[in-house]
Symmetry: C2
């Protein structure tokens, strides 16, 4: 005890005695000898090693200190690039190497209980519990705000986004006069353009008529029925914990559905049989843990809500659910927790939306590079739960390639690996239970992703082929030689013609002339037929040298298949249209037209036959069906193919049911032709009938067993992938036969 | 019924009537009109589509035909490269396109029950049930034998391999006279060389002495105790099924262990407490299914045995196991089932050994490119079960990148996806339950892997750095710029010096002179210190242009870190030593030296500190310990680091227990420094104590739930990853708390 130490030190003229957590370099340097007990040395070493290897340099889960406030955030983690050990404290930074060795020497040599007292200058590391931003220049402050900044999308999303359609309220296709369509707002490259050819295309391809509007008979959000189930215990606990929540109709409605055609129809024509009874907005991992434990105790259902862009019915509340349903909206958990420039990884809260993530990282010179078509609205947690894929996966990878670490909250506990190593063999990879769980096992709270420096150069391109088959063969060769650019997408003739219909009116005779010259070259000089040719759009990223090399190689390979370059502008346009395509469906729905996309992945040798057979199958529908496809991703062993179906339903009863039949027949055809159930959209509810057949019964049994173990009370009762055995609340789980 | 059809056809002058499965093109062409019932058309279409999309063109699981014999194999699947649908039958090949369209027309138009009888020339596809090889040239026959060929390793492996050490019997380090070591046999580049410097190195680095041999007191294989458990029902069923089996001591001993240091010690000094009671050699997926069902019914344990190269104790029989233990040896299931050149995939039986797989594919111009250090002996099934990694993963990927499809037999059923698409989102990926299962959930029978054309060029290289840290920084930059060659491995100074000790005696004064000149340049002109420098070995693969480009870029990046090229020869030597390193341990064990390797994956910024701290930790051992490390793989977010420990145990009691302490302390150090539990070796038994901490308790609970569901009777009772709850036979599974 201290008395003994004082006695022992009696003969020493000058000494300083301090507990282990007071150690600091300045004090050490003011003395001659550092003496520690074995225990003290072990504690200091443990603390150093903890900081060295922790996954969250902000100390969010450091056992030594009190739990930081929920609103704690950290500044930009800029590690010292010398060989010294990384710690936040600048002083330890300079000297830790010598201390580390000295510590180990101390363990062996000195075993006596003598302390040397240091002149106590307790300097705590910078990452303390306080919320104060570190002082500094404006640049510092701007940088810090990148880490914690509200989303572009407001908390009450219906203030900015459509409650009954896709995207922003201020952006939609609209009729200006009888014969021209325009795109409203100012957000997109297409905004403000007039598209004279689009109406003609709609009438020709779909038999629609600009004079025949199909009025929506929607229930206004203000008239939404009140919550059907309120769990009093849960409500009082929520209030006590101070969690932000709402039971207002518009908030509940917005979070009660995704964006399948059926859900859009329901919004326009009626009402969903069941909506969430409450919306809760947690702001940290810890609040989510409390929420999940609470729901488990009270018998309440949680449905995680990220971007709400699901196209599998995943967000629909099961109509037979008798317990209270709570929408767990992650949008207010959207911080960048830290960036690690040495390992090129970063940690993010799961509610961060794609456009916010990329915009904020870009300010710091980085990107994730994950660009799904839903980038503007979908969330990181949703990407993980659905096994998302992005346009530029050739460079950055799909979500399973980007994911380094994830924290996943289940009613049984928090799943997270103990380290962030790049690749491990530690039994079955639990990350792959989390990815694809589609909201049925738990909720993602924090994710560590790879980050990359922004590319130096970005260039678009396009290729024109005589027909779709030549284009497919070219893409297959790009995949074979592993030289595909960041993105390559091949559209068939219908989409090429549709792309033309979206062209703004020529701004002057020069543009019209140039276009005519191009058309002449393509169709007369090269002999491509306008009704058969296919176009691929390309995106290159890298250093200027890399991009030039890639482009030369791709063009030479295209030439092997009779393809010619269509120029950079057509490529750019193709990609700029990516984010407006989703708005087309709302236009169609106003004119008795339904349209939907669905996708698959398929081996290379099945691509062409699959596309042809899909088209044949669609002919079986009594309406003239617009059926078109595009190859959107290339892999070693196959490709991702997207299909678009659209038709005019005027005069037909029950158009949604008819559409369901068409889609199911289409999926049967895909599966019969060797295509998968889904490349990246997932199973949700709409594809459950094929789930067991796709992965085999014992595999379903295994996933069900995981569900029963991690969520025995079926808190996460969205009923995606499969209906839980034994009814919604899992009460008869044990008795039910799997 | 046929009577009605005959009556209906009465007015037709000539007709042929046949059931749907008799349809063939020649007959069709001999008539004018093809009329089918809707049902017939659907059946034919289903059959065509089945062949189009099946994963096994050999028709091994075609529901239309009888199950083929277990010894069925198929010839080289060389699909027609035209746009027509791929079928084996040559006639259908030419005309299917027209038939397909015509079929669809027929469905819509013709709905009457009229058959036209074809002149019956039933031509069955080539892939019939018969075992006859298709006739053809010698080249054809040679090609076909590539698909079905016995392994280089004989069925009774101890006839060729050591029963008490690593590798071939004819290959080992041996003392020629007092001061020189040689490597016997003729299999390796090193074979036959004399290594004068090696003895000196052993004495200096390890304090060993050539005069002090540690004799092995092993139990001769002939004196192995008989089986302890014989299940009579199981034995009679085995005989009835005609499954090859053996209860001979040598066969059982060989399959009762892997290659950890502890297991080698046990072989040399004693005997394992428990061995398999029987060895069974199934020859097909179907026999494995029968075996597993049988074991489940009879209450018998199955331990799958592939190459036997486990280094985690995975193959050790749990000593407390009271049921009969059967070693399921997959080595006789080693066929190449088919190759698909259009999709660049191939299907292989799980018992195929690495060296056989690559040698046979090379004859056809292809490779997998998966080259673990155990390539000569390890099996495809073992790679899948342990999440294996290979030297050239930068080009070909690790096992999770190579795997397209897998068939996995569990007591509950066979797990396999229904299609071989390259990437899917169909819930949690069940392939990742199979990969890493380490023999505890079931057994792999067949695997579809990506194949690649053999590289045009293969070139070795090496780089010399002033110190290990510079080398690590260079490797980090290669990873950052994503330009690492097929393989890059950085060894520290100790391994560089050890590599020198393995040099054969210089063949003449020229070689000695050249070496001296090189040394002079490296140490005097460039100023590298022989006791500090580090060397990286490199392997480039690709077209000559690609290789030249890669090499130029890598050399320029190395120069950024003060590295210079060490020449091609040193690189080649480095890689050639890969397969002989494993023989060193047996040499050491003869002279009181123990050595073991272990590996981890770790983020980039932890690599140097981890290596330094490992070294410090090892100093805590009272013996002088040879501690050395090498970086063997680079990733975006980190690296794989291999450690080698060796020391002289003469005079110490219980060297194995001491070694276990050293290894556990080392692993604690690795984990504290942010390294993973294992990059690719797996958990097995030796790392179970850290398993829960590594993946988190709920994750372990999830995996246990899968185990309970798929293998409720604990047939796969190897007890890897974790001890099953409720005892070995799972009897008290339900009652036991997880």
């Amino acid at each position: 005890a201290p008395v003994n130490m004082a006695l022992a030190c009696d003969s020493v003229r000058y000494y300083s005695l301090m507990p282990y957590y007071g150690i600091n370099v300045w004090s050490i340097l003011k003395h001659d000898t550092l003496v520690m007990t074995v225990d003290a040395a072990k504690k200091v070493q443990a603390r150093l090693l903890h900081h060295l290897s922790r996954r969250d340099p902000a100390g969010l889960r450091n056992p030594d200190w009190d739990e930081p406030q929920a609103t704690h955030f950290t500044g930009h983690y800029q590690p010292d690039r010398t060989q010294s050990i990384n710690c936040h404290t600048q002083s330890i930074n300079c000297h830790t190497q010598s201390i580390n060795c000295q510590l180990k020497v101390s363990i062996v040599i000195i075993k006596s209980l003598i302390f040397t007292k240091f002149k106590a200058t307790l300097s705590m590391p910078d990452d303390s519990k306080s919320d104060e931003k570190p002082s500094g220049s404006d640049k510092e402050t701007a940088k810090d705000s990148v880490f914690k900044r509200p989303s572009v999308i407001p908390k009450h999303r219906q203030d900015l986004l459509k409650w009954n359609g896709w995207g922003y309220q201020d952006s939609q296709f609209a009729v200006t006069n009888q014969r021209t369509l325009t795109f409203t707002g100012q957000r997109y490259q297409l905004s403000g353009s007039e598209m004279p050819a689009l109406v003609e295309w709609m009438e020709k391809a779909l038999g629609a008529s600009i004079d025949q509007r199909s009025p929506a008979k929607f229930t206004r959000p203000e008239n939404i029925p009140p919550p059907v189930q309120v769990n009093a215990d849960f409500m009082s606990a929520i209030r006590q914990l101070g969690l932000s929540h709402s039971d207002a109709g518009p908030d509940r409605l917005f979070r009660g559905h995704g964006h399948t055609l059926e859900e859009m129809f329901t919004l326009r024509e009626g009402m969903f049989p069941r909506l969430p009874d409450l919306v809760v907005w947690p702001t940290s991992h810890r609040e989510v843990v409390e929420l999940v434990n609470l729901a488990n105790r009270c018998g309440v259902v949680l449905i995680p809500f990220g971007g709400g862009t699901s196209v599998t019915g995943a967000l629909l509340c099961p109509p037979g659910e008798r317990r209270m349903i709570v929408s767990l909206d992650t949008s207010q958990m959207n911080r960048i927790l830290w960036l690690d420039e040495r390992n090129l990884i970063g940690r993010f809260e799961a509610g961060i939306i794609g456009q916010d993530l990329e915009a904020r990282l870009a300010e710091l010179g980085y990107c994730i590079g994950h660009e799904p078509d839903s980038l503007e609205f979908s969330s990181l947690g949703g990407w993980v739960a659905t096994r998302a894929s992005g346009m530029k996966k050739n460079v950055y990878g799909n979500i399973e390639d980007l994911l380094v670490h994830v924290t996943f909250v289940t009613p049984t506990g928090v799943i997270e690996k103990s380290c962030a190593a790049p690749r491990v063999s530690v039994g079955p990879d639990v990350h792959h239970l989390i990815m694809g769980s589609e909201g049925s096992l738990g909720v993602v709270t924090e994710v560590t992703l790879k980050i990359r420096p922004l590319p130096q150069t970005r260039r678009y391109g396009s290729l024109v082929f005589a027909d779709f088959a030549s284009g497919v063969r070219c893409l297959r060769e790009l995949a074979l030689r592993r030289c595909a650019p960041a993105s390559v997408r091949l559209m068939d003739n219908e989409q090429f013609q549709f792309g033309h219909a979206l062209r703004p009116a020529a701004s002057g005779w020069t543009t019209a002339f140039v276009d005519a010259v191009k058309r002449f070259y393509v169709t007369r000089v090269r002999g491509f037929k306008p009704d058969e040719l296919a176009v691929a759009t390309l995106l290159y990223e890298g250093t200027p040298e890399e991009v030039a090399q890639q482009e030369a190689l791709v063009n030479s390979i295209a030439a092997n298949h009779g393809g010619i370059s269509g120029g950079e502008e057509n490529g750019r346009r193709g990609y700029m249209l990516t984010f407006v395509i989703a708005y087309l469906r709302d236009l169609g729905l106003d004119y008795y037209c339904v349209g939907e996309s669905f996708e698959t992945s398929v081996p290379w040798d099945r691509v062409l036959d699959l596309c042809r057979n899909e088209e044949c199958r669609s002919r079986g529908v009594t309406q003239p069906v617009l059926s078109t496809c595009r190859v959107t991703q290339t892999y070693d062993a196959g490709a991702c193919v997207y299909f678009y179906f659209a038709y005019n339903y005027r005069g037909l009863p029950d158009p949604v049911h008819l559409y369901e039949e068409v889609e199911n027949a289409a999926r049967d055809e895909i599966l019969a032709n060797g295509g998968s159930l889904s490349h990246h959209h997932g199973v949700g509810k709409i594809r459950q009938r094929w789930y067991s057949r796709s992965v085999s019964e014992p595999a379903v049994a295994a996933v069900r067993a995981v569900k029963s173990r991690l969520d025995p009370n079926n808190v996460f009762a969205c009923a995606n992938l499969f209906e839980p055995a034994g009814g919604p609340d899992g009460q008869t789980e044990q008795k039910a036969k799997l």
